[in-house]
């Protein structure tokens, strides 16, 4: 009798696990795949670029402009939204249809990233896996060989069109630079700004950090820092050709690969005198 009850419980809980998940947010999709429920993801947003198999899934649009009927048409029994997902009226419409929804919070730290993974794990019935994932993420981060002397690292981002912008404080890039043992010389403003060439020279970064997509939309393919942004060629980074390029989602997503990203970034920072 007890065994039967136990079986019923297990069967019941397994049955209650969501089978059709729509994921909005690159890091959310990454987490779902890392927790082993990638095969249950039936729809993603356009920022879900990792793992590669996720890009083949039906798209519900850009994460800040998701299509309400598009989401419904995938018949999800769980909707996982990054903090940035929207617009708000579409999200409330979807909640009105009583689709179980997990709306995550923002936060650029290992703890915040860990919290998000745990919440997703809970929602998809992978609590133990999510705990292990957070553990390994933090372990990898702690294994990062931080540089002895913190280099000045400037993050350059181009959103396509217009001149590339520099990240100040309060951004994912700023948090990653600090976690990997660098300092952000552009710390007297928050968010992203475009800076004049002279201001760039004055900040004198030792390393310029940017994303793959920025290089793809900017004219410079090779390490021509002055072409990426005029003025950068006159800085320490420009003189020593120190340009670090990383994948957008890997570097800025604060998903399950954050520990790995920190370690890799710290490795790139090493060797700056």
């Amino acid at each position: 009798m007890k065994t039967l009850l136990l079986w019923l419980l297990i069967g019941g809980s397994a049955f209650a696990e969501p089978q059709r998940i729509v994921s909005v947010g690159g890091a959310v999709t990454e987490t779902l795949f890392a927790l082993g429920v990638g095969d249950r993801v039936v729809g993603v947003d356009s920022s879900s670029t990792f793992p590669a198999s996720a890009t083949a899934l039906p798209q519900v649009g850009y994460q800040r402009a998701i299509a309400p009927e598009g989401v419904v048409s995938l018949q999800p029994d769980l909707l996982v939204l990054a903090a940035t997902a929207g617009p708000a009226d579409v999200v409330s419409q979807l909640e009105g249809l009583r689709i179980p929804t997990v709306h995550l919070t923002e936060g650029y730290s290992l703890d915040a990233a860990g919290q998000r993974i745990l919440r997703i794990g809970e929602a998809v019935g992978r609590v133990d896996e999510s705990k292990r994932l957070v553990e390994s993420m933090k372990t990898e981060a702690s294994r990062a060989a931080l540089p002895e002397k913190a280099p000045r690292v400037l993050f350059v981002l181009s959103a396509g069109g217009g001149s590339p912008v520099i990240s100040g404080t309060g951004t994912a890039a700023d948090a990653m630079i600090r976690l990997a043992g660098g300092t952000n010389p552009a710390s007297d403003f928050t968010g992203y700004r475009s800076l004049s060439p002279e201001a760039l020279v004055a900040l004198d970064p030792e390393i310029v950090l940017t994303t793959k997509r920025t290089l793809a939309v900017s004219p410079s393919e090779s390490v021509g820092l002055g072409k990426l942004l005029p003025g950068l060629d006159l800085t320490a980074a420009g003189r020593n050709s120190r340009l670090v390029v990383m994948d957008d989602l890997f570097l800025l997503g604060f998903g399950p690969r954050t520990g790995e990203a920190i370690a890799k970034l710290a490795g790139q920072f090493a060797g700056v005198k």
């Binding site: 800040r64 402009a65 959103a159």
Partner: protein, 329 residues
């Protein structure tokens, strides 16, 4: 050209067909038996809370843009006039960017923040245009045109300042708002914009006769007994109310205000008593059709409807222009 007795039945039939097609087509499949039998089923709620209000709103928005465009073209006696000309769109965009940048926290909790700001922006702009162009109790149409351009430029400058200070995500929100979209139009949007559009339409349709007289010139119209000053004022205020409220919910959707009246004139002649209601139907039809494309073409994702309107509407309009040139010129 076809007679009104033919034009209106055709336009109404086309609108009803578009409405029905829009209700029955979408990314999600609706089980109609469920809608009728189980008011609590997903199909029923999807239909009643998402698809139906969105289709209604597309007609309200498109209609408002069309009828206001027709009235403004009449008042300014300029076929290029559209609601953007009197500063409505610029002001609404400024209101939207203010709410996105300054009231970001409020925006997440209260979905009406952006529409309210955008609406206020539109109203203030038109009020400015009106105040600048009024001299000794008369609205000077030529001054109103210039004032509209100046107020638009001013809004543009202010938007520039906000965009300059905006964060990456705020920028993207604003970009998507300005591309126009009917996603998220629920009953609340309909409830708030439809009455204003309705009031505006009553005012504009009343002015139809006088707009015909105005086509001869303001002084001739005045000598014919048309209440010229009242008509100008009512067209300005009605356009502000109607276009302001729809822009607030759907973002800037250009082109319809310009094209709908032209299509009606090509089909049924220049009598404003026909052009005004005809433009309402035509505008509604255009936006409903465009939104249908926007939400199904790349399903389950969605295309901003402003892009669809422009990229489908502009070639069609060009085609009509070229064809008309051959027969009439």
């Amino acid at each position: 050209m076809i007679r009104p007795a033919v034009f209106f039945p055709v336009a109404v039939t086309l609108s009803v067909v578009a409405f029905a097609v829009s209700l029955s087509t979408g990314a999600a499949t609706i089980r109609w038996a469920d809608v009728l039998a189980f008011p609590d089923s997903t199909s029923a709620r999807l239909f009643l809370t998402i698809r139906l209000p969105r289709t209604v709103e597309s007609f309200v928005c498109g209609g408002a843009l069309g009828v206001c465009g027709a009235a403004l073209q009449g008042v300014f006696r300029n076929p290029l006039a559209d609601p953007a000309l009197i500063g409505v769109s610029g002001g609404a965009a400024l209101g939207a960017v203010v709410s996105i940048v300054w009231f970001e926290a409020l925006l997440a909790r209260e979905a009406l923040t952006l529409p309210i700001c955008a609406f206020l922006g539109a109203i203030v702009s038109v009020f400015l245009v009106h105040a600048i162009s009024t001299q000794r109790g008369r609205v000077l149409t030529s001054t109103a045109l210039l004032a509209g351009i100046a107020v638009n430029a001013l809004s543009g400058a202010a938007i520039g300042w906000f965009v300059y200070g905006a964060s990456d995500s705020q920028l993207r929100d604003f970009t998507f708002w300005s591309l126009g979209s009917l996603a998220g139009s629920g009953w609340e949007a309909v409830r708030l914009s439809a009455p204003l559009v309705g009031i505006a339409c009553v005012g504009l349709l009343w002015g139809g006769r006088s707009l015909n007289a105005l086509a001869l010139g303001e002084s001739d119209a005045w000598h014919m007994g048309a209440p010229v000053e009242w008509v100008k004022r009512i067209v300005l205020v009605s356009s502000a109310l109607a276009v302001g409220s729809v822009t607030a919910f759907c973002g800037t959707i250009g082109f319809i205000g310009l094209v709908a009246p032209h299509l009606v004139r090509m089909a049924a002649g220049a009598d404003h008593r026909i052009v005004l209601p005809g433009s309402f139907l035509c505008g509604g039809l255009l936006l409903c059709g465009a939104d249908l494309v926007a939400r199904t073409a790349r399903s389950p994702a969605e295309i901003p409807v402003g892009i669809v309107v422009a990229s489908v509407g502009a070639p069609v309009f060009l085609f009509l222009l070229l064809r008309g040139r051959g027969t009439e010129a």
